[in-house]
C-alpha cells in the first residue's frame, strides 16, 4: 500500500506493508511440495520463483500443458509453446501436452491442488469477482477464471488490500459480477493474510508494522483475529526483503 502524505507541498510516498514481490513470496510459502499449481496472470505468476527450495511443484497452464517451465531463451522460443497469458514458456522434463477438453477436465474434475489468482473484489463468504466491473461499455472477457475457481481444490488470491483510490476490495458482498461463489480459501494482500472460513474472514498474519485495526479500517467486512495471529516485526521483514 502506498501512502501519500502532503506537507508544505512536498509529497512523501511511503510504502507500507508488503511489496508485490513480497506478497508472491508470502504466498509461495503455502505451496506444498508435490503440488499441481495453476498461476494466474500478474502477481500470481511471480509465485513460482519464490517456492522454497526442496519443494517440487508442477505448473499447469490451462491452454494445455502440465509441467510448464521458465521463460524461454531466444533460441528456445516457440510461438506454439505459450501459457494462458499467451506468453512464451518452456516445458520441463516430465511435462505433458493435452487438448482443451482434457485440460479443463483436469480443472473441473478437482485434480489441480492450488490456483493463485488476482481479484477485483472478494466477499467474506469467499465469493470472487475478478473478470468484469459490469461496465456496459467494457468488452466482457472471462477466459478460464470461472472454471478454475469452480474446479481447483484450493483458491489463493493475491491482491492489493484496497483499490488505487483506497476503496475496500474485501467486502461483505461483492458488487461486481461474480467469477464464483464461496470459492476463495485464502487472501494475500499487501497488508495481511486472511483465511476465508465458515465463521468469516480470519486474519492470520500481518505485514511488518501493520496492526489489526489498520487492516480492519481498510476492509469492508468484519475481520476476526486468529488465535495464532502472526505479527511480523517491521525491522525483521525489511531485512528479509533486502536479503
Amino acid at each position: 500500500m502506498i501512502q501519500i502524505t502532503k506537507k508544505h507541498d512536498i509529497e512523501t510516498v511511503t510504502r507500507i506493508g508488503w511489496s508485490r514481490e513480497q506478497m508472491a513470496q508470502r504466498c509461495a510459502q503455502d505451496i506444498e511440495d508435490g503440488s499441481y499449481v495453476n498461476l494466474g496472470i500478474g502477481i500470481p505468476e511471480k509465485v513460482a520463483q519464490y517456492v522454497p527450495d526442496g519443494r517440487e511443484v508442477i505448473y499447469h497452464t490451462e491452454n494445455g500443458l502440465l509441467g510448464m517451465g521458465n521463460s524461454p531463451s531466444a533460441d528456445e522460443l516457440d510461438p506454439d509453446l505459450i501459457n494462458a497469458g499467451k506468453k512464451p514458456v518452456t516445458a520441463i522434463a516430465g511435462a505433458s501436452y493435452f487438448h482443451h477438453g482434457d485440460s479443463f477436465a483436469m480443472i473441473r474434475g478437482n485434480h489441480i491442488d492450488v490456483c493463485v489468482l488476482g481479484a477485483m473484489q472478494v466477499s467474506q463468504a469467499g465469493d470472487l469477482a475478478n473478470w468484469s466491473t459490469g461496465d456496459a461499455d467494457a468488452i466482457p472477457a472471462v477466459g478460464g477464471a470461472m472454471d478454475l475457481v469452480a474446479g481447483v481444490k484450493t483458491i489463493f488470491i493475491i491482491t492489493q488490500h484496497t483499490t488505487k483510490t483506497g476503496s475496500a476490495k474485501i467486502l461483505t458482498k461483492c458488487t461486481f459480477p461474480l467469477t464464483g461463489q464461496k470459492v476463495v480459501n485464502r487472501i494475500y494482500t499487501d497488508l495481511c493474510v486472511i483465511d476465508v472460513t465458515s465463521k468469516g474472514l480470519v486474519l492470520i498474519e500481518l505485514a511488518p508494522g501493520i496492526s489489526f485495526e489498520y487492516v480492519q479500517k481498510r476492509t469492508g467486512a468484519t475481520l476476526y483475529s486468529a488465535a495464532s495471529l502472526t505479527t511480523n516485526a517491521a525491522e525483521n521483514t525489511s531485512n528479509k526483503a533486502q536479503s
Binding site: D78, D80, A91, A105, R108, D137, A145, M146, G151, Q181
Partner: protein
Amino acid sequence: MIDKRIASCANAVANIKDGDTLMIGGFGEAGSPIELIHALIDHGAKNLTVINNNTGSGRVGLAALIENGQVAKMICSYPRTANSLVFPELYRSGKIELELVPQGTLAERIRAGGAGIPAFFTKTSVGTPLAEGKELRNFEGENYVMERSLKADFSLIKAKQADRYGNLTFNKTARNFAPNMAMAAKNTLVQVNEIVELGDIDPENVITPGIFVNALIEVTQPQQESQLVQNGMSYPEINSAKKINQGVKEV
C-alpha cells in the same frame, strides 16, 4: 482409396456457405490456421458464426475475417487481447454479436458436440451472470448449470503432421481446441505443416484419428500471426498471390 489431401486452401474452403457455423482452432496465434482463414476471406462467405477462444489480433487472420464483415456472431471466452483492434470497436457499435462462454465450458461444449452428448452439467459459472437463463440443478447438495453442446458446419484447424487418412499430430500448446473441434464439425479442414506416409505416425501417438478429418492442405511454412501484426500487416492487403501461396505445396 482414402486420400484427404486437397490442392489448396481455396479449394478446401470453397463449400463454406453464408450463415454457416465455423469452429476455428487456436489459442491466440498458437494453432491458428491463418492460411485457411485468409482463403476464407478471399472466398467471402458472410453472416458466419465463429467459435474460437479469442477474436484475433491486429488485422490478419481471425481479426481480418471479422474486420471484413464476414462474422455475425462470435462464441468465445476471451474476446480481447493486447493487440485486439477489430472486435472491440464492432462490438461496441453493435455490429457483431457475442456469446461469452467460460473457456472450459467452451471446450466441453465442443467436446460434447463431437461425442453425441446434447447437454451436460457443470459447476462452472454457477452464481455468475454467465449462468443466467440456464437451467440449474442440484446433485448431491451442489448446484450445477446445464450447458448445451456446440456443433459446426466446418472446423478449420492447424496440425503438425498428417497422413493421407487424416491422422494428426500437433505441436506443443498449439494443440489446444483442435482435437475437440475436429470432432464437432460436419467438415474438418486441416492445414498441416507436413504430410507424411501412412505408418510414419505411430498409432500410439495419433492425437486426432483420421475419421474426424475431411481435408488436408499442406502449408509447409505457415505465416506467424504475431510477426504479421508486429509488421503492421493486414489482410487482404498482404494478399499477393506469391505471399499467400508461399509454403503451400500443390499435391
